[in-house]
């Protein structure tokens, strides 16, 4: 799991994830997402390169998203692969974190 963070001019943090968000991936991502939750309000998580997401990976995203929501911010999930999107919709967490297809849509959410 590789994590790349880019902050846009509008103060939105884009997090690019690459790899599997399984038990090991979640362990790697846990700390960075805790830091992100403490440092930002608006976060876009780019899931294009995530092949797999386990429930423990969802938990990492949810914990971050909940803390962002408490601060009045939020998290948007960008362009997940089909299998990953199915997991996200199955678990219903798209209710908590909107899933969008393009970057423009993602940024529009925080406009």
């Amino acid at each position: 799991m590789e994590i790349e963070q880019t902050e846009t001019e509008t103060g939105v943090l884009v997090v690019n994830l690459d790899g599997r968000l399984d038990v090991a991936g979640a362990a790697t991502a846990d700390m960075p997402f805790s830091v992100i939750a403490g440092s930002y309000e608006k976060v876009v998580v780019d899931l294009q390169k995530v092949e797999f997401i386990a429930s423990i990976g969802i938990r990492v995203l949810i914990q971050c998203a909940r803390r962002l929501a408490q601060k009045g911010g939020g998290m948007v999930l960008l362009a997940p692969q089909e299998t990953v999107e199915r997991v996200l919709t199955t678990t219903g967490i798209d209710q908590l974190m909107p899933i969008v297809a393009t970057a423009d849509e993602a940024h529009a959410r925080f406009a």
């Binding site: 038990v23 797999f52 386990a54 429930s55 423990i56 969802i58 938990r59 949810i62 914990q63 909940r66 919709t89 199955t90 678990t91 219903g92 967490i93 798209d94 209710q95 908590l96």
Partner: protein, 600 residues
Amino acid sequence: MRRVSLGARIAVIAVVSIAALATVLVTVSEIKARLQANRFAVEQLASDADLFETIRDLDASIMRRIAAQLARDPATDNALVAQVQNQLVSERLDRIRTRLGVPVSAFVLDADGTPIVQSGTIRPASETFELLVGLVAQRDNPETIAPLPSGGFALVVADEVRRGDRITGYVVLASDFGGRLQTFFRSVEALALVTPEGALMLSGSQQSIAAQVQDTCCSGAQRATTTGTLNSRSFVTVLPIVDALERPIGELVAARDVTNRSRGELLVNGLAALTIILGVLLAVGFLLRAVRLSFRPLNAAIRVLETMLHGDLSVRLRPITATREIGALVEAVEKLREGEEARSRLMVLNTQLAAARNIQQSLLPDPAYQTDGLSIYGSMVPAEEVSGDFFDIFEIDSGEVYVLIGDVAGKGIAAAMFAARASEVIRTLAHQGGTIDAVVAAANAELCARNPEGLFVSVFVAMLSPRTGHVRYVNAGHCPPFVETQPGALRVLEPDGNIVLGIMPQAVYKTGTLQMNAGERVLIYSDGFDESQNRDGAFLGEEKALHVFGTTTGLVPEATVGAVMGAIRDFADGASQSDDITLLAFQRTEPTNSHTSPAH
């Protein structure tokens, strides 16, 4: 077997090495001392030989001068003619006697060498006269040392008496040479003249010394030896005595008492030995101390290991200064102890995990449930000791049967405890009655309320009516179950987009329904099934999972669960199970009392 401590072994080696070194030192000094003694012996011998020669030459020259005077004196000639001793000869002899301080004899021989006048007590044998008379013709003033028949030796000189060119007789003087030697070798302890026939003690009383050299007498060689016992040691020089023809005729033996000097040497040697012993002891002491100091950390390490053997892992090793090897050992022991401590903590944890597993297993229902019109079978295989999965089968007062499967995100004790709580909450709420969506919503609210770990659980809850085959279900974020309506006719019970429990307190849950006819089967499962992995890390996937379910057509729930578990194992092909696997199958069966029951 008795084990020798390393310290003792090193001490023994050290003592042996130091003793060996000391022996070498003592040997070297002994050799040096012996060399010195030999040098002393050579010097003493040379000095004695010089003295001996000097006395002989001195006496001989005095005697020759007087012999010459006598030979020229008319009185001697008269004496030869008269063949009687006269006054003049006696007077001259008295002068020599006074000069030398020892008895001297004078002889006047005729031309044939026969004594005609003699004076004094020293009487050389007739061969001596013959020897000298023979020598007179060859050299001036012949002299010799001759054994005396009475013992001892005489220094004898001769001169010829002439009348014109004709030799009319000889004057021979003989002095007690042994007595002369005695006056010069005053400092010796014992002085003896030794001949093959016997020894004449000139002074002292150590007959034994003379006797010792008797056997080797008269080889004609100078030598020096040391004799004696522990209490008395003597240094002995032996000088050959030769006659005018250089024939060895006896020996002068001079013995000097070196007992005191030996004592001094012994004392010095003793002091040296004592010093060496003290040095050795000191060295050993220092060495033992050094060894003990270096091994002290080792003892500490041993104590730690011993306490570890008794199960006590609390004794730590303080950081210490030690030699490299022991330091490394001590570090290793400390690491071992830490490792053991961690292991023992892990063992405690494992014990706790095993207890948790027991508790969790005891919370699971009887896997098989049979009632008229319904057959259910559930099974859970945790990936680790405890599981985040759970399932439940229970009947509520209305006669309907709840089946549910839950999957808490994550694994381990926290997940297991959350699973137990979720299971308990749903069961409690279900028993209180109400619609299934209300039960799930209430359970969600309850699980959101106290959730410090931010855990969540996906559940599939179904309320089955054994009598009618009607099924109401809520899928809260769980994997979609499989349904088989007809043999080979499979479908996926698509999710309704309900969110998992534990995240959104206000979440509303949609209910799904299903009408099951006799023989219809439903398989609900946790993602351990469709996300099971093989050795290459490939997932089974939902499609293949559905296919696996399809292969179980005609099987009752228990057999279905068994067959699917088997298929998962086959797919995994030895890869370790990465997630909990829970399967629950239920089947609508033909009610035996269908005549009393409504069709639906």
